[in-house]
């Protein structure tokens, strides 16, 4: 029984990953990715990694996928199709992907994994929490804290990219204020020449 569930999940993951990278409609690709993420959490459930499966569902399927859909909706024209990839490019890419996959799959399949001697860890939230805040051996408090620095830096970086340049903001306040929100693309639809002339 378990075997069949695994095969079904694996088939879902394979088919939808393939569709994700081949679909030319970006919103569809995002939705296909959502199915891949959900099926992956199913595999975690099969392995009894309940906590990880829950995280996978809430953070990836719930959070990240929705985030991707939102950013797609905010940035691109929905009915716009992505450029058709030329046949030679598709063939070359497919060949490289196939060779790479073959190499890694063969390596992993023929490798003789030994069970380690460590006692089995109960993957409960309690154990995970202890490991997360432990500063001794096999403790993860340092990476846990460094990730917070990474998040801070990423937020500052996102602000930098989202911020309008000062000069555009000051001289152009009237245009931006009156045109918002009816013309959200007032800034982005400007050509480079227009922006350069404003900056001068």
């Amino acid at each position: 029984m378990e075997q069949y569930v695994f095969y079904i999940l694996a088939a879902i993951i394979l088919v939808f990953s393939f569709l994700t990278v081949t679909s030319r409609m970006i919103l569809r690709a995002a939705v296909y990715l959502l199915f891949v993420l959900i099926a992956t959490s199913g595999i975690y459930f099969m392995l009894n990694y309940n906590f990880l499966a829950a995280v996978q569902l809430t953070v990836y399927a719930g959070g990240i996928a929705v985030l991707i859909v939102f950013s797609v909706l905010l940035t691109s024209q929905l009915n716009e199709k992505m450029e058709q990839v030329s046949l030679t490019k598709a063939l070359a890419g497919g060949l490289i992907a196939f060779a790479g996959a073959l190499l890694t799959i063969l390596t992993i399949v023929q490798y003789n994994f030994r069970p380690n001697g460590l006692p089995e860890l109960e993957p409960s939230p309690r154990e995970i929490g202890h490991a997360m805040l432990n500063y001794g051996d096999n403790g993860y408090v340092l990476p846990f804290e460094v990730i917070s620095v990474l998040l801070l830096a990423a937020m500052v970086g996102a602000i930098i990219i989202a911020k309008r340049p000062a000069k555009l903001l000051n001289e152009d306040r009237t245009i931006i204020d009156t045109s918002y929100p009816s013309d959200k693309n007032a800034y982005t639809s400007r050509t480079k020449a227009e922006i350069d002339s404003l900056l001068k």
Binding site: I108, Y135, L142, V146, A153, P165, I195
Partner: protein
Amino acid sequence: MNLNSFLLMRHELILIAVVLLYLASEIIGGGKNKRFSLNFAVVLFLAVTIIGFLPISTGTMFGGMYQTSPAIILMKNILNAGAFIVFLQVVSWLKKEENDNRIMEFFILIVSTLIGMNYMISAGDFLMFYLGLELATIPMAALAAYQVYNLKSAEAGIKLLLLAALSSGIMLFGISMLYGASESLYFTDLIRTMEMNSMTVLALVFIFSGLAFKISIVPFHFWTADVYEGAPMSVTSYMSVISKASAAFVLMSLLFTVFAQLKEIWTPILYITSVLTMTLGNLFAIRQRNIKRFMAFSSIAQAGFIFLGIISGTQMGMSTVIYFLAIYIFSNLAVFGVAGAIYNQTGKELIDDYAGLYKTNPALTLVMTFGLFSLAGIPPIAGFFGKFFLFTAAMESGFLWLTVIAVLNTIISLYYYLLIVKAMYITPNESPIAFFRSDFYMKMGLILATIGILVIGFIGGIHHYIYNLSFGIL
């Protein structure tokens, strides 16, 4: 663990404090006073750089996740000093009106990447190593897209982000294979259990690819020229020196420790990529007209030389790599400093524009000449000793042909570095760039870079000092 052992992490702790202080100053001052923001950022970082050089003990923490050694601390100090010079050189550009509401963010992002590099250098397990690498890369993409209204800058940002994500993915896959093979991510465990089999070899190749992307080794270099050209001059300068030097150092220590057992696998890898990198970097550099693209290919070629020291596997090789990286940082900063000063003043960044620069701006020309001569390796400037020791290290380990190829490449590189020197001194130009004065910070930045080049070259004790700190494969 007590407070004393916690202070082993002083470099990172101070940098995190600096980020918070920068943020606080922005919140309190509202970023209104441009002059204050700039002075505060630079002076604070000067203090950080000086504190970094104070004596500090070494050891491991967090169950081995974090480790320091004298060589690691020296590398962190070199990175701090390089970042400080970048700060000095960036001030005149940040003063421009177009950057008005985004001054502090620049410093915050740069210091964040520096924190990442410090953790990456100090990592004692692959998790910290990977986190440090990401912390050094993601803010860098935001910095490359700093002038996001400029299409080239935006393109540089997205290119760097996408390709870095791809290379991180490949590297993570390699790390997970290593974990599968040896049940641990700690370097100490891996060193103990590492043995040669197809799994670990594939892991080595994947992890090497991830780092080779950061150092822009051929064939992982395709992003370099475009990103360097699109990013603002100071970001390019920072990326080409600090980012590259830290990744090269980490690659070296990983190969010498974790992958020491696989030496016979990574020696040919390094051999081939080194030859490709030196040769292709040099050949493409000759064709470039834009100074940033030119420096991109020049920095690719320089990365090939670094491999000469790593491939030797000896203590001499390792100390020379650190020595060479220090020289490379100062030389590149001298060249980029002058290019940045000229760009800020005139908006010109083509090599042809530099014609006749000697007549109008002799001081800038001199600094640029020092930098270029050092990169080319002309005696008695520091770059010569760096290359000379690298060649010696490779020769001692029996890599005769590699050294011959490297020497030939040095000659090619001499040609194109001298093309710029020729343009500045000899090529006649009816309308050369007019004389201009740089501000105090820019002057200091250029002077410090020049002093760095000269001092490292002329004081013989420095190489000896590094030699005593470093280790090789025994």
